[in-house]
Subunit: 214 residues, 2 copies
Amino acid sequence: MSKASERAYAEIRGLILSGDALPGSPLTEEALADICGVSRTPVREALRRLEAELYIVRSDSQRLFVADWNAEDLAEMFTLRAMLEAHAAARAATRITPQALDALRACNARIGAAVAQAEPDVATFLNENRSFHEITIAAADSPRLATMLAALVEQPVVRRTAARYNRTELARSAHEHGELIQAFAAQDAQWAQAVMTGHIRRAFHAFSAAEPVP
Amino acid sequence: MSKASERAYAEIRGLILSGDALPGSPLTEEALADICGVSRTPVREALRRLEAELYIVRSDSQRLFVADWNAEDLAEMFTLRAMLEAHAAARAATRITPQALDALRACNARIGAAVAQAEPDVATFLNENRSFHEITIAAADSPRLATMLAALVEQPVVRRTAARYNRTELARSAHEHGELIQAFAAQDAQWAQAVMTGHIRRAFHAFSAAEPVP
DNA sequence: CATACCGCTATTGTATACAAAGTGCGCCGG
DNA sequence: CCGGCGCACTTTGTATACAATAGCGGTATG
């Protein structure tokens, strides 16, 4: 996607995820165009994409509203993500290159360091965690899977999950990554799948334990 | 999606799936606009959607080409479809309404009739089969799942699969639907999931047994 | 007082014009 | 003859103008 479209997408997505645009509230193309400082054309493209990713919904006839994600929707997202990302891990186990494996090791080393500190460096954790999962998904070598997962992995959700983790849990997360690396090194698809499933399911429960939407 | 966009989408998708637009061949917005008899604007929307569904790919910089689905891609599609649609069946098992269940029964009765004939009515089979799966997915009550599956269930692929089925296999397909209905009636999610998995996996192997792309 | 009809307005859909960017071809120089 | 540079053309991206449509409110009538 090109500059203006991308900007509009990021901007509108930000409005929704930050809560500035409340669930159920109407969105008009022109108002968004003004906010983003671009014309309606790129806004429309951004909206199509956001609609496909279920950030927004179309009413009876074509009016747009911010989607309302309830607890059940979020649970379903985690379930789908666990299924698909575990499948990705299984694929990656037999396809990953030595280079990618090294990249994962480096990534997880940085996560370990960030977590080991007296005051864990959550920002680094989040960045490296994202890289870790991105490398894994890339190693699965399935554009379809990558596309689907992209619509399922919401960084604000991940952030809220990590914010809830204490140091022990952050360390456990890093440990799970380590086990995943072992599974990859052994090219054991089942193992990788199981570890990833647990990894995501645990994140789900940590997320659910967090206070409701702020 | 509205009239012109929808038309462009259907038209272009048709070009690709019919083989009129060969894999790897370039597509230009203007040429497609001419073919569809609309302007570039709705064509662009259609292309975005087709890109998201991986019918087309974007080159290094923004030029569009017909995607090239090889055997591995198709296998991955079936695998993902089996996973997701089985999950949908599991959800549907505990959520389906009596009305929807009746609709499935009626649907499958028509499939049974179409298959029982000396010369099976494949057209009816395909229509009712599609309805059957659509009702199931709707009963799962997960817009996300529905969106994802929509990009995975290609009717031309289904058609080729069914064309390969002989009467015994068509009947077996109907029988599997019947078992799914039983699982739904019993509200047994695991059973429903297992039956659906087998149903799709069997379709995959029937499809693979078919001659390579004509 | 309720309801139905009509017309205005707000919003989305489509077309077109223009801007930007990339590609390929031809020309020139080594 | 080969390689690099530059220009023209093709193609995509964005803005804007116009068309169609749906929603809303007012008014008039039963």
